[in-house]
């Protein structure tokens, strides 16, 4: 009889242990493919020393060249530790998924009682297993899979957000650098005016008041340079944070290659369609809705919430064993399921509303970002094609007047300063354009369609060199009085 008991128990255990956790894909390949499709860049999972070394190597290679938006984004995706922390979510979710596929372990209960009237003990062994598990584990696995997908989408979003933020930060840093150079030029011009005034004063040609006025104008431009320098540092540090760099690695330079604006912007209708398809927030919301739907489905189909089956055997103090099945069942006196269904139905409607709201907002964001981009483009074109060339012409014409002694050097330098101001506006406008482009990518949820866009953007266009204002002539040494 004892053998029978143990055999039953062993059989149950064997049956149970037959269901082991199966091999689950870690989801990184899908994540990486998703990110690559939307940004053109690759991802690495830094989970062991070998991977860390490979990442270090790649980052060094990229840092050896001047940074472009592409290389900065690539470095950030490889090297940003916050992103790596987010990627580990996949590991956590994977464990959850595996665990969801496992049955709960059966419960073994042992009790020993010692009656005070006899010397023998009362032993009781009970093994129970939740019966519902068998029916529910499949559904639970599906839910967990959905949650795993959800986690993957969240990590994808984190990667995309990092991409857009890095791009925008690089454009800002590049513009800051160019603006600093221009402000230094303006400060130089102001310093020259100040120095000339001082020399005029030394020669007795102007009053101290006039000299002081020129000097006062120079002071403010020096302030601008100081502030611009601090601004640049702040931008650089933001990029360092996004790219996860420190120490010697922070000495990177920015590429000065000018990237031309694309010939035309993508069509807004096509972009709206693309946003609906590929925007991560929408995918996440759809996933959440799917999870709620599934949960509601299961809850509706669920008939019993808890049912335990088992075997119990007990040795009475008298010395004989009593063996029998155990059944434990929840009596559905209070309708918890109905309430649960109502709750989940509310959650389902909630999820539907959220998804609809997100879709509406996404389309609106695409249109707004598209309009912003058009405006930014028009601004750049106007400044580049009208305003700056006109200012350059003014400098040239001013120099003609100066050459004929019809204009003084202060006025000539002022014309050049106005030209530089216009170029500063162009740099700001160019940065605004590329940042607007990144915002549009963010609104669309990935790179813009290849058909109407140029190669992926790099650094904004560079400052124009001062244009030659005199025809090529032989240099006249103005100390030599010609044919005198």
């Amino acid at each position: 009889m004892l053998r029978l008991r143990w055999m039953v128990m062993a059989a149950m255990l064997t049956a149970l242990t037959g269901c082991r956790g199966q091999q689950v894909d870690d989801g990184f390949a899908d994540l990486s493919a998703d990110v690559a499709r939307r940004t053109g860049r690759s991802l690495q999972w830094n989970r062991d020393a070998e991977a860390a070394a490979a990442i270090e190597q790649r980052v060094s290679e990229l840092l050896a060249q001047p940074l472009t938006a592409e290389s900065a984004v690539q470095i950030a995706l490889l090297n940003n530790r916050c992103l790596q922390a987010a990627i580990e979510e996949l590991g956590v979710a994977r464990a959850d998924l595996i665990e969801a596929g496992m049955l709960q372990n059966p419960q073994l209960g042992v009790s020993a009682r010692f009656p005070d009237t006899s010397a023998s003990t009362n032993l009781e062994f009970t093994i129970t297993q939740s019966f519902l598990e068998f029916f529910v584990v499949g559904a639970r696995k599906q839910l967990s899979a959905a949650q795993f997908d959800h986690a993957r989408l969240r990590v994808t979003k984190a990667a995309l957000d990092l991409t857009w933020e890095t791009e925008a930060a690089l454009f800002a840093a590049d513009a800051s650098q160019q603006l600093l150079a221009l402000k230094q030029t303006i400060a130089e011009a102001a310093a020259l005016k100040r120095d000339l005034a001082v020399k005029q004063y030394d020669a007795g040609n102007i009053s101290e008041l006039d000299a002081a006025r020129q000097r006062a104008a120079a002071d403010l431009s020096r302030l601008d340079v100081t502030l611009a320098g601090a601004e640049l540092q702040a931008q650089r540090e933001q990029l360092n944070r996004l790219m996860g760099l420190s120490g010697a690695q922070t000495s990177w330079t920015l590429s000065s290659a000018a990237i031309p604006m694309p010939v035309a912007e993508p069509d807004t209708d096509a972009l709206e369609h693309l946003a609906l398809m590929q925007r991560i927030e929408l995918a996440i919301a759809r996933q959440e809705l799917a999870v709620v739907d599934r949960t509601l489905d299961l809850t509706r189909k669920g008939f019993v919430s808890d049912l335990d089956l088992g075997v119990s055997t007990e040795r009475e103090p008298e010395g004989f064993w009593v063996t029998g099945p155990v059944l434990q069942i929840e009596l559905p006196i209070f309708d918890h399921r109905g309430v649960r269904i109502e709750r989940i139905e509310s959650q389902q409607r909630q999820a539907r509303h959220m998804l609809a709201a997100l879709e509406t907002n996404a389309l609106s964001e695409v249109r707004a970002a598209s309009a912003q981009l058009s405006a930014a483009r028009a601004t750049v074109e106007y400044l580049r094609d009208d305003v700056v060339p006109l200012r350059q012409r003014i400098t040239r014409l001013s120099q003609e007047q100066y050459n004929a002694m019809l204009m003084g050097v202060y006025e000539l330098l002022a014309a050049r300063e106005d030209e530089i101001d216009a170029q500063s506006s162009l740099i700001n406008a160019t940065r605004e354009y590329w940042v607007a482009r990144t915002s549009l990518k963010q609104a669309v949820g990935g790179s813009l369609p290849a058909g109407s866009s140029a190669p992926s953007p790099g650094a904004p266009s560079t400052v124009e060199e001062p244009s030659p204002v005199t025809q090529p002539e032989s240099e006249h040494d103005h100390h030599d009085h010609g044919g005198k």
């Binding site: 130089e188 014409l397 004929a404 019809l406 050097v409 000539l412 025809q471 002539e473 044919g483």
Partner: protein
């Protein structure tokens, strides 16, 4: 209250006077019939014609014994010097207008056609004539409207250097360049020993043309930037070519806003006439510079007995420079060497100016200037840059001349007569 007797006397006297009041037939453009004169008239061309430097003399036709001249008042484009053309107003395509040359006693008839955008009238400055021919719009005649033609007719009873200019929107029309010589030769030529061999007429003018533009700004009262002899600024002025021993007369006229002290190198001359007529010998005194006031003419004469290249110029020295601004910073004595390179980094091709004065400017003439603008100083002589502009011309006196109309080149100095360097 006039009595009949006084009226008869008046009319008798009137008929004896030389020029007779004409009925205003000007509107119809018909010439008036011949009127009797008191003094015998003689139509003559027996005089040494005046040379209007860089200019022209107005040709005339004869209508019986009347010299008939035709003037057209119109906008003109005047080349002040090679490289600069100004939008002015003038007569017959030029400023100053062509010189009217006649002889004392001539009866002249002058047709004036108005092609200006506004009404005009022509005043004959310094000429004795009937009041109705005086040419003052509104006062002595109706204005000559655009596209109308009026005729003036009177008999000359004086000789000397006179002018003609508008008396309608006078300030603007004169500022735009409307003026010309009216030269009347004496009835009796001078004795041979005093006969003038070379007779030059030079109109003095001031202008403001914004550098880079072309139209004269007639609203400028004081701050002129271009100065001309007969509508030409040096190096656009022609030389005054004379032979050694010639008696030379230079007639100067001034309708600008400033007086001009005109100076001649190498000679002492006498001022022999004004727009009031010839100056008696006893009243003449030697000068090297004659100040020509506004609204006047001056004649001076000398014997050109010293060969060479002698400048003739206004002695207001800023009148011998072309366009220059007056508000630029004074860099004289300001050392700019170290700064020049720094400025050049900002403005390529920049060169510092003014430290050692302005003479160096001529060496910079090849640098790009505003369009249609003359260099401040120009001209190259046999020994170097002349650094001149504006009211500057050269009197070239030569022992031997091919012809008065050919520039004889630079003077060949006899050895030992040129200043030489010792250290």
């Amino acid at each position: 209250m006039l009595s009949r007797r006084s009226m008869i006397l008046r009319s008798a006297a009137a008929s004896l006077a030389a020029p007779v009041m004409l009925q205003p037939r000007a509107a119809s453009g018909q010439p008036s019939p011949e009127q009797p004169h008191s003094a015998p008239r003689r139509v003559t061309t027996a005089y040494t014609p005046v040379v209007t430097l860089n200019g022209a003399t107005l040709p005339f036709e004869m209508d019986g014994e009347v010299k008939v001249f035709r003037l057209t008042a119109e906008p003109v484009r005047q080349e002040f010097a090679s490289g600069m053309i100004a939008n002015c107003w003038g007569y017959n395509g030029r400023t100053p207008g062509p010189t009217i040359e006649a002889v004392e006693g001539d009866r002249v008839r002058i047709y004036v056609t108005n092609k200006l955008p506004e009404p005009t009238a022509v005043h004959w400055h310094g000429i004795l004539l009937p009041n109705g021919m005086d040419g003052v719009g509104g006062l002595t005649q109706p204005y000559i409207q655009p596209d109308e033609t009026f005729v003036y007719e009177f008999t000359l009873r004086q000789h000397g250097t006179q002018m003609y200019h508008p008396h309608s929107d006078e300030m603007l029309q004169m500022a735009m360049g409307m003026m010309g010589f009216f030269i009347i030769h004496p009835r009796e030529p001078r004795p041979a020993s005093e006969r003038v061999d070379r007779d030059f007429a030079i109109f003095l003018q001031e202008w403001f043309v914004p550098p880079g533009a072309a139209t004269v700004n007639p609203m400028i009262m004081l701050d002129f930037n271009l100065f001309t002899f007969n509508g030409r600024a040096f190096p656009g002025t022609a030389p005054l070519v004379v032979k050694t021993g010639d008696r030379v007369r230079v007639r100067l006229a001034n309708l600008s806003m400033d007086s001009h002290p005109i100076h001649l190198h190498g000679y002492h001359f006498n001022v022999t006439g004004t727009d009031g007529g010839p100056t008696p010998n006893s009243a003449q005194h030697p000068e090297t510079t004659v100040n020509v006031p506004v609204g006047a003419t001056r004649d001076f004469e000398f014997i050109a007995d010293a060969p060479g290249d002698w400048p003739l110029h206004c002695h207001k020295s800023h009148h011998t420079m072309n366009a220059m601004e007056h508000d630029i910073p004074n860099m004289l004595g300001v050392s700019q060497d170290e700064l020049e390179k720094s400025v050049r980094r900002l403005v390529p091709g920049y060169m510092s100016m003014g430290e050692q004065g302005m003479g160096e400017m001529q060496n910079m003439n090849s640098m790009r200037r505003p369009s249609n603008t003359l260099p401040m100083m120009d001209g190259v002589g046999p020994f170097g840059n002349l650094e001149m502009g504006g009211m500057f011309a050269v009197l070239k006196v030569r022992d031997h001349l091919e012809s008065y109309d050919v520039d004889p080149g630079w003077y060949q100095h006899p050895p030992g007569t040129v200043a030489w360097k010792v250290s």
